[in-house]
Point group: C2
Chain length 396, copies 2
């Protein structure tokens, strides 16, 4: 299936990333908003040990455990040695290793080292906006967040920052999407489930939002693991007990797949054929599965399949949905052997769930045996299709 044209193991592979992150500065809201509003916006306080964080949002408090990581990120357990023997690395260590992530100039040096060219960059505090219950507070806060993010984006044409969307009021969503597009944003960040009290994404009430996204050319960016939750729940924890961490990692991917399916099955994508959806950090191998599954449902369960569609669900998914993965070898095969051309690589920089520190090793493992055209498509081609304004990666 694939051709190895020459030994490329020493070559630097450049790739665009469909999934990267920023952490907003702690004084963002106090600088940008009146004190009465600023104090209600999300703020994070770490415990002295660095293992736990408390995020406070408009009177609600969310506790979450911060990640620590094994140093041997990209290797399976060596034979005879259990993975628990691998040394751990705390979140504080990560911040020391990627201190420039929030510095627009130092970040470029990191990216150059890793071979990451352009990036879709998601917010961090912005994710917590789902827990705000006051539409006006949310609208004002998100505007401040986006004003800050667009200034970050302006420092390099390689930065494609995602504009956070106020999702409590459709009118606010549309207005902020249009404002964001005017400011120069190309991606609108949506949580993988709307905030409490709002209709699910397949409901008709979201129609003006999809229309506005198509009209402005904004890509809908669903970042997995951003489902709203109550203050008494830990972030991203659906399963506890043996294997819980692995199960939760699977579960958050279902959340991203569900969003893609909602936009396909409701007909939103075929009504708005210029609309593009990016599901970030949830893997990509699921695309062909979801396409076949929805086609089977639509054909065999036609008696309750509403609305009637002009195209099979697979057509809308294959053409308008994109997804980013980090390490999955099967994601490459989804593109090369299953024909889903919208598989896109992502670094998840600077999070150590991603490839920071071993990006070149990962890219070579994924692509050394892949035909040049396929490699190009997954590393830069799909990204350039969504964001044609970004200058091309070196050598591509």
């Amino acid at each position: 299936m694939n051709e190895r044209t020459h030994d490329r193991t020493d070559e630097k592979i450049w790739a665009d990333s469909g999934d990267s992150h920023l952490v907003e500065p702690p004084d963002l809201f106090t600088e940008a908003l009146p004190p009465a509003l600023a104090e209600r916006m999300p703020r994070s306080v770490k415990d002295p040990g660095g293992e736990w964080e408390t995020v406070t949002v408009d009177g609600q408090s969310f506790r979450r455990r911060l990640p620590t990581f094994r140093r041997q990120l990209d290797a399976g357990p060596p034979p005879g040695r259990k993975p628990k023997d691998a040394p751990l690395e705390s979140f504080a260590d990560i911040e020391r290793r990627a201190p420039g992530a929030n510095d627009p100039v130092a970040r470029l040096a990191d990216l150059d080292d890793e071979g990451i060219w352009a990036e879709v960059i998601y917010p961090s505090l912005g994710i917590w906006s789902f827990s705000i219950r006051d539409p006006e507070l949310l609208r004002r806060g998100v505007m401040a967040l986006n004003d800050w993010a667009i200034a970050f984006q302006a420092t390099s044409p390689r930065y494609v920052c995602a504009a956070s969307m106020p999702l409590l009021d459709v009118g606010h969503t549309v207005a902020e999407m249009e404002r964001a597009a005017d400011l120069g944003f190309k991606v609108a960040f949506f949580t993988t489930r709307p905030p409490a009290g709002r209709d699910p994404y397949h409901a008709e009430s979201w129609e003006p939002v999809w229309a506005a996204a198509e009209a402005t050319g904004m890509v809908i960016g669903f970042h997995i693991g951003t489902e709203p939750h109550d203050p008494d729940q830990d972030t991203g924890v659906a399963h506890r007990g043996p294997g819980g961490a692995v199960l939760n990692y699977v579960e958050v991917s279902f959340g991203g797949q569900r969003c893609a399916a909602q936009l396909v099955a409701s007909g939103a994508l075929e009504r708005h054929r210029g609309l593009r959806v990016l599901v970030s950090e949830g893997g990509a191998t699921w695309g062909p599965f979801l396409a076949d599954r929805m086609d089977e449902a639509y054909r065999q369960h036609g008696f309750v399949a509403r609305p009637t569609l002009d195209r099979l669900p697979s057509v809308s998914l294959y053409e308008q949905v994109y997804a980013s993965f980090q390490h999955d070898r099967s994601a490459v095969v989804a593109a090369t052997a299953m024909g889903w051309r919208n598989v896109m690589w992502g670094s998840d920089y600077p999070h150590l769930e991603g490839t920071f520190g071993h990006t070149q090793k990962t890219l070579h493992e994924l692509f050394d045996d892949v035909a040049p055209a396929d490699r190009r498509r997954i590393t830069v081609g799909a990204f350039e299709e969504l964001f044609p304004h970004v200058p091309p990666a070196p050598g591509s």
Copy 2:
């Protein structure tokens, strides 16, 4: 990748099915149990119009809409014609079309016509046992159900009936699994979520059950869409509104994937390497995705991944989990290009969500371009690996 050795379009393709169904006779429980118990067991009453069914179980009533189907099951909408124009077929029509499904001799004639050789056959009323709250009633009822099913199985070596499991009490589950194995069952049917009040499948409390399955050689059969639900919920309905039917069809597949992930991530499969799991009717393309996703979680989220595993999750999944699909072309590629050898075809006979009436057309579309060894593996090889006692399909 694939070689077409000759034109096989006229050849009859025989395939084993990892997913078929029976409907138990209405007098099963009244014949087998004392009246005081029998009247509390599930019974189904159809509305006169045939569109709705009421299932009554131990004082609870569940209403569900019965499927009607388009006649054009296997074709996408022709250009210029919307699928809603296709004629509908009611559930009653299906019963007229497959009247022999519950007759062990007539059923074989149907199977011969279709080219279906051996089958894993799941219960129907047995699925409703999740709604029984009295462990002793459940134990007695399930024994009656299994006594009936084993008699059905005895009529042909092509029938591999699944024994329903009483899941309210681990001791009962183990005892019935051992009794079922002694009776000649090879598969134990588990709902895709345990009944209310029981631990999830990745909990340690299930350990005696997995040990008993390994010791008896019983395959764990998870049939999708069998999650317990309350009487005020419609069966299998997680999403309403535009696209809801398609979304629910996707959602039930997540339920099957979740079960496979639970047995992998909890270490149950590596503790019991003789244990085999079959996920029926949920598609199969998800296997390589789930494998890569769990590996990434296990490596990158090692800080909370418990228990420590001796093998990467992908190894357990690739070796011990099997899955059946009906129409998905991508499922074939999951086997041929992603290396998951446990992809298994399934007919879903006699349900018209499956291939009844167009089995040969489907099998030719799936396999005419596939190398003979791959075709053999998916149509009969994986099935024979799980059930070596079954006589081989003609020509294989």
